[in-house]
């Protein structure tokens, strides 16, 4: 162990590079996982924060953000009549594309009745819309585009006045904005339209039975909020999750290669010393221990440093780009440390093979 320790600290630049390489790789893994977790949270932010625990959509529609849902005019009354339904909140929602400062930005319109709910869950400044020409805008999007309360904003050819700024309603893919449901019906030129119903069941009602009863109504699909959230995540993950997961894998591979290269170089450089050790009776196992300890210590220091780095870089990214949310799950941090250990084990494989093949006599012949 003493030899491993000496080997490690003898060349400080090399130690710094290897620890730096590992921490960079694990930091990337942590940041990418944090980014995925943040993306998922942002995608489901409306579902997570809106009223009720069940959602009624048009038959065949099982997500909020992907498909347009249009319920029949009778759906609201039919659902109210079902036993076990305590509260029903209708919303009319639709994606629209904003042209802001020459950039296209998808935003999700929520038409709601302020007296019933379904609107913004946290207003940082201002109030909810009281007329059909007022709106609540996302505060991050407003800041990025120099918009403030009192400003006019055009949606689908109609001017709205911003009367409130909502919090936690943004993401880098889309932001939520809110108008009255009556205004949304006019805007979408569909007077009877309702997209979804947010259902709060009565206390002590068994969800499975209630869903069964609701799904007897024709033309609707009643599902839990958790299911609809999962479906939305799956839909968006189809586009973004695969590249991010690929990057996590490449980061792991690169981290392993970095530790491997460092330990390999250090081992090859000290081949003579290891040969001498073998010649005086050291078993292969002892030499393996030296190599594995070096790899393990490097990776562990790198992993611990990466946690600090990831937190700092994550906070920095969120400060300069508030539309990005990076969430660190304690489980992800644990995985990062395990990834570091995994890297060490993989990385030590080639140097141990070098040692295994080393013939003690060779070092005296050189």
């Amino acid at each position: 162990m003493f030899l491993a320790h000496r080997n490690l600290i003898q060349n400080k630049t090399r130690l710094l590079l290897s620890v730096g390489g590992v921490s960079l790789a694990i930091m990337l893994i942590l940041l990418l996982n944090g980014f995925l977790a943040g993306m998922n949270r942002q995608i489901t932010s409306y579902i997570d924060n809106s009223t009720g625990s069940l959602i009624i959509a048009q038959k065949g529609v099982d997500n909020l953000l992907g498909a347009t849902s249009l319920l029949s005019v009778n759906a609201l009354e039919d659902v109210k009549k079902v036993n076990g339904v305590n509260d029903v909140v209708p919303i009319l929602s639709q994606f629209v594309i904003f042209d802001l400062r020459g950039k296209k930005l998808p935003a999700y319109l929520i038409g709601y009745d302020p007296n019933q709910g379904g609107g913004p869950w946290k207003i940082r400044e201002g109030r909810e819309p009281m007329t059909d020409t007022e709106m609540v805008f996302d505060d991050v999007l407003a800041k990025r585009n120099d918009l403030q309360i009192g400003d006019k904003f055009e949606i689908l050819g109609q001017d709205f006045t911003i009367v409130g700024l909502s919090e936690n309603t943004t993401s880098w893919m889309t932001s939520f904005f809110f108008i009255r449901i009556s205004a949304a019906k006019k805007l979408l030129r569909n007077p009877g339209a309702i997209s979804f119903l947010l259902i709060t069941p009565e206390k002590n009602i068994e969800t499975g039975n209630l869903l069964k009863n609701l799904n007897r109504i024709s033309g609707i699909n009643a599902i839990t909020k958790n299911e609809i959230a999962d479906n939305d995540i799956r839909l968006f993950a189809k586009v973004f999750s695969a590249p991010i997961k690929l990057m996590v894998f490449i980061s792991f591979l690169v981290g392993t290669m970095i530790v491997g290269l460092i330990i390999y170089t250090a081992t090859v450089e000290r081949q003579r010393e290891y040969g001498v050790l073998k010649a005086i009776g050291a078993a292969n196992q002892i030499l393996y221990k030296v190599v594995i300890t070096q790899a393990f210590v490097t990776s562990l220091i790198g992993a611990l440093l990466s946690i600090l780095l990831a937190f700092s870089v994550g906070n920095w990214i969120m400060a300069i780009r508030p539309q990005f949310l990076i969430l660190f799950d304690p489980l992800d941090v644990l995985w990062a440390i395990l990834a570091g250990v995994g890297m060490a084990l993989f990385a030590a494989f080639i140097p141990t093979r070098v040692l295994a093949k080393l013939a003690p006599a060779e070092v005296f012949q050189k």
Binding site: S18, K59, G60, D62, V96, L105, P106, I250, V254
Partner: protein, 370 residues
């Protein structure tokens, strides 16, 4: 000195694999991510590009189809038809919904088509009929295959059963496909007979599309008229603008990965050949000659890694076309230029630390075995 760099590079196979492999991975990452989004940009405008229309008319301020809605009063049809130079007008209804078959659910643009519509229908048919009547639908061939259904089978759209009468091609992308139903079915299910989503316009070939689009906007209230090429370009911008920030972030990460691997391999290689450099110095080689070796080593590794990265991405794009994954990798010239520039920067930065190392190398030390 370049020969020496070449020799150093290939002497140690493990180091060579790691350096070139690391750069190739990083470059593949940057290239393939760019290629995914360029592919989506091209696929997403397939309906607009193949609609057969010269001009698209939509609700005022609506300049896109993807992730948006457009709703105009039906009276707009006659208003537009009165404008001179217009030959055909096809109204369509549109929204995004699911094509459901058993447990298989696929997101799709649902297009409500008038009977015998001259524009806006499927442009390439694999099998069956190209226009849907009441209760019928035309869906994408890949979606049908995925759902294990064919002509004559039923699917559910907007909560109602439709019989599949046609299978279209080139109507799917990474996010969604296109399904066609009759406009009368669409109106029934939508519950709004007074609205249309878009007007597809064919003009007299002797007239200018942009002039007629301007005339439509001047004469018809609350509409936006765009030449098809402009409409298509607006659509591509949605994908581009949505993905720019995430691509920038991913590219930066790819760049960091490439840099970390290269910097380390060039550094460890220089370290391993320290004594040789010392001997060369002792024999009278100038620092600048040794710098040349390091830079050449770094440049060679990066260029081989880059070439490998490009090959892997091309290979991936070919494999994906055979896998029918609705994902197209399109490698653009801009993307190639970007990764090439990134490679050069990586090579240059990677050489800095070893150059400093060589500059501080005392020839006498190597003879003392240090």
């Amino acid at each position: 000195m370049i020969r020496l760099a070449f020799h150093n590079l290939f002497q140690n196979k493990i180091r060579f694999i790691i350096s070139v492999g690391g750069v190739a991975l990083a470059m593949t990452l940057i290239l393939s991510l760019d290629a995914v989004f360029t592919g989506v940009e091209r696929q997403i405008t397939a309906y607009i590009d193949n609609s057969g229309a010269d001009i698209f008319v939509s609700q005022k301020s609506v300049r896109n189809m993807h992730m948006t809605t457009s709703s105009m009063s039906r009276s707009v049809i006659t208003d537009v038809e009165e404008i001179p130079g217009i030959e055909k007008v096809t109204p369509i209804l549109y929204l995004t919904n699911m094509v459901v078959s058993g447990k298989e659910r696929n997101l799709a643009y649902i297009i409500g088509l008038p009977e015998n519509a001259p524009m806006g229908g499927p442009w390439k048919l694999f099998e069956g009929r190209s226009y849907p009547r009441t209760g019928e639908t035309i869906i994408d061939r890949n979606i049908a295959q995925k759902s294990k259904i064919g002509i004559g089978d039923d699917v559910e759209i907007l909560g109602r059963k439709f019989k599949v009468v046609g299978l279209s091609e080139e109507t799917t992308n990474l996010v969604n496909s296109v399904a066609f139903i009759s406009i009368s079915d669409f109106i029934k299910l939508w519950g709004n007979s007074n609205s249309i989503s878009y007007l597809l316009i064919k003009i007299n070939p002797e007239k200018s599309s942009s002039d007629i689009a301007a005339q439509i906007e001047a004469n018809v209230k609350n509409v936006t008229a765009q030449v098809t090429a402009d409409f298509s370009s607006q659509e591509r911008r949605v994908v581009k603008d949505m993905s720019t920030e995430v691509i920038t972030m991913m590219n930066f990460i790819g760049f960091l990965i490439g840099l970390a691997v290269m910097a380390l391999t060039v550094y460890t290689s220089t370290l391993a050949h320290r004594s040789e450099y010392g001997v060369l110095k002792a024999l009278g080689a100038h620092n600048k000659h040794l710098y040349q070796t390091v830079i050449s080593y770094s440049l060679l590794s990066v260029l081989i890694g880059l070439a490998l990265g490009i090959m892997i991405t091309f290979l991936l794009s070919i494999i994906l076309t055979y896998l029918r994954l609705n994902l197209t990798l399109a490698i653009s010239g801009v993307s190639l230029l970007k990764v090439s520039s990134a490679s050069l920067v990586i090579a240059a930065i990677s050489a800095i630390l070893p150059i400093k190392q060589i500059a501080g190398l005392d020839p006498a030390m190597v003879f003392r075995g240090k």
